[in-house]
């Protein structure tokens, strides 16, 4: 099963490599990983999506908690949560394809954020499956380049992950 794990991390040099190293060292899988500082500059927030059995995911959270730089760990997928991923996708756009891409983009509530005579760059935000669905919906349109941010997640309601 796919899990979204959120980690509050000391914003120290080398802290990220400890997390990434742990995943390869213990043969855990990483689907996506995002990290940036929080409103408190001494803390980073890291979101990792992983696929594994309950037992493996339990080990992942326990082993993450053992890292001295890790302040808190939560498996967001255990409760109600919101996940978002940002994608920028550069598409070949000429002739009648320009209108077609624009329509698909509107359906998915994407934005065209850069235009040249032959290409559109579309920005799309949503959960990962929505981004996958957009790519599938493009059909024969030729994709020039895709960049995805990886998943960020947050719990619903008033529950917060903080020190």
């Amino acid at each position: 099963m796919r899990h979204i794990i959120s980690v509050l991390l000391e914003n120290e040099p080398g802290a990220l490599s400890r997390v990434v190293g742990l995943f390869s060292q213990r043969n855990f899988n990483i689907e996506s990983l995002t990290v940036a500082a929080t409103e408190d500059p001494t803390l980073s927030r890291l979101t990792v999506t992983t696929i594994g059995s309950d037992r493996v995911v339990e080990q992942i959270t326990k082993q993450l908690n053992k890292l001295v730089d890790v302040v808190k760990v939560v498996d967001l997928s255990e409760g109600d949560h919101i996940e978002r991923e940002l994608m920028m996708i550069k598409l070949k756009a000429n002739g009648q394809m320009r209108a077609e891409i624009k329509r698909t983009c509107d359906i998915f509530r994407g934005q065209i954020i850069d235009v040249t005579p032959n290409a559109y760059t579309v920005q799309l935000i949503g959960d990962s499956s929505k981004l996958d669905a957009f790519i599938a919906a493009l059909g024969t349109t030729s994709i020039l380049e895709v960049v995805r941010s990886g998943v960020s997640g947050i719990a619903r309601g008033e529950k917060v992950l903080s020190v």
Partner: protein
């Protein structure tokens, strides 16, 4: 406030931490630190001949005292030579602080002379590591390093110090912090009372219980509590390789070691138990054998300070996260206050069964199949001559298993061996580290002619500092454990397991200024050993020739259950 350079702060902080000996080897990146060491007398530096030995000495000090040992090695090759020692300590959860020199900050990343990324290299084998970025942080980093190494589940911590951080002309006000507080690291101090209560109810209802105890009892200082609880309950106790001595080996309630080369009765009892309580053990693959067949009829209680150890390989029924000593203490109180008592009738028939197993195959080996002395006889004699009271520091291989099986450890912290990593070359430096700190105790290195040659250069360090350890070299002229597996699984094709061209160990010991002795016959063994131990101030290298064809038994059948064992070359359960 006193102004000190970074180098002086390193040394002063170690002194203020109460460190007496540090083990190391100098080099370019550490010259300022070595100069600061030279100018004081409170912290004594022991110069080894290879950095691996420095880490093993520090590690063994920790195993004997439960306090972090300290190694000091230079950048580049100094640091990489220490890697095996750091990994050894990590696998056995041993507290250790390793200070590594580093090239100057502005050179880091430029492939400078003797540069290596020690933070990166050591990351998977340390509990934590630090890089000093501001010299004034040195005292607090060293304080944190000790705190992290020794608290919770112990482990090694590396402190990497670029040379410019120790510059003698840059001076800073020095203050050693009295305590440490870290928001991201708060080791647990007691177990969950509800879980402990539940476990005690299960203990009191058990009919075929076994206490399966590991290194956590030793490093957690819980031996006294374990003995007390085991006696109150009247339960059998088995130790892992790392847990030997946590419960007295000569006690009638002791089943000895369990696992791959565990005793017949320990493995049989585990397999047939209805309740297994693990204390500070981690269900290692050398214990469980096939995990799908592990203890099929038992409910399992698991006490461990590390939550990640719980249900890692074996699902347990009642997990208790906490320090072994505190949890056992609470259990003792609950058992004492309980209305119900352990089921005497069920326990009596359980013990009857265990005694039957013990009689059927209790630590026996053949002496009639060879003219030669048996390695087991050497260990039994060692146990006799030292009254089971010595610090036994072992290398890795058949001799290690024989020592674990036939030396009856009655006290904790006296069996010093590399269990998790299985590091050949560990024994001699380990014995040195213990002997330096316990000069009045008998300290023995049990080794083989393969292992001893992996750190034999330390005979020179022993000469320099007069470290009179006793080396029991169980010489079977082959890499015995490798050969045993080749005999059992590769139709005796002895690929590279034969130690050809052995040196004359007697002459070698003498060349380093020590005493050498050779023993070939069992009838000469006792007198020779007594003579060796009577030479209190001399290192004695006893080169003891034994039957090269002996195997270690029992030996579990791979992927079987705990009770599936070879009992001899021809007998199987």
């Amino acid at each position: 406030m006193e102004l000190l350079s970074g180098a002086e702060m390193v040394v002063r902080a170690l002194r203020d931490q109460g460190v007496k000996y540090i083990y190391g080897y100098p080099g370019g990146a550490l010259l300022h630190v070595y100069d600061a060491l030279f100018q004081q007398e409170e912290v004594e530096h022991i110069l080894v001949r290879h950095e691996q030995a420095a880490t093993h000495m520090a590690d063994a000090y920790a195993r004997a005292t439960n306090k972090a040992g300290v190694a000091l090695v230079t950048s580049g090759p100094g640091a990489t030579n220490a890697v095996t020692g750091i990994a050894t300590a990590y696998m056995d959860s041993i507290p250790m602080v390793v200070i590594t020199g580093q090239v100057m900050s502005h050179l880091i990343g430029e492939d400078a002379f003797q540069e290596t990324d020690m933070l990166g290299i050591s990351r998977p084998i340390v509990k934590h590591n630090f890089s000093v970025r501001r010299a004034e942080d040195i005292p607090s980093i060293i304080k944190k390093a000790f705190y992290i190494a020794e608290s919770g589940r112990p482990g090694p911590v590396v402190v990497d110090i670029p040379k410019d951080m120790t510059n003698p002309t840059d001076r800073f006000p020095y203050e050693f912090p009295a305590s440490v507080k870290m928001r991201s690291y708060n080791p647990i101090s007691r177990g969950h009372s509800g879980q402990i209560k539940k476990a005690v109810d299960m203990l009191l209802a058990a009919k075929r219980p076994v206490l399966y105890t590991g290194g956590g009892v030793i490093m957690g200082g819980a031996s006294e509590q374990l003995i007390k609880l085991a006696r109150m309950l009247g339960f059998p106790v088995t130790n892992t390789l790392m847990g030997l001595g946590g419960f007295p080996g000569t006690d009638p309630q002791s089943l000895g070691m369990l696992g791959m080369h565990g005793s017949y009765e320990a493995n049989m009892a585990m397999h047939h138990a209805d309740l297994v309580m693990s204390v500070g053990a981690r269900f290692d693959d050398r214990v469980t054998n096939g995990t799908d067949k592990f203890c099929p009829t038992a409910r399992i209680i698991h006490i461990d300070i590390d939550p990640a150890s719980i249900s890692k390989t074996i699902e347990v029924d009642v997990p208790i996260v906490g320090p072994a000593a505190a949890v056992l203490e609470e259990m003792i109180e609950l058992v004492a206050a309980a209305d119900t008592k352990p089921d005497a009738e069920a326990l009596a028939s359980w013990w009857k069964q265990i005694e039957e197993w013990r009689t059927r195959h209790g630590g026996r080996y053949r002496t009639d199949d060879s003219e030669k002395m048996k390695p087991q006889q050497v260990i039994e004699m060692l146990s006799k001559v030292t009254n089971g009271d010595a610090y036994v520091c072992s290398d890795v291989g058949q001799h290690q298993m024989f020592a674990a099986q036939y030396y009856k450890f009655n006290k904790p912290n006296r069996w010093i061996n590399s269990g998790g990593l299985g590091t050949m070359g560990f024994g001699l430096p380990a014995a040195m580290g213990v002997k330096m700190n316990f000069p009045d105790e008998e300290v023995v290195c049990v080794t083989g002619e393969g292992s001893i040659q992996m750190n034999i250069q330390e005979l020179s360090t022993c000469k320099q500092y007069n470290i009179p350890v006793k080396i029991i070299n169980i010489n079977n002229q082959s890499l015995g454990m490798v050969r045993q597996w080749q005999d059992m699984n590769y139709e005796s094709r002895h690929s590279s397991s034969y130690m050809d061209s052995l040196p004359d160990f007697i002459k070698l010991a003498e060349a380093y200024g020590h005493v050498g002795m050779r023993v070939d016959r069992h009838e000469d063994l006792e007198a020779a050993m007594r003579e060796a131990f009577s030479l209190k101030d001399r290192l004695v290298f006893m080169d003891i020739y034994v039957d090269p064809f002996e195997h270690v038994y029992p030996m579990q059948v791979p992927r079987g259950s705990m009770r599936d064992m070879w009992l001899s070359k021809t007998e199987r359960t």
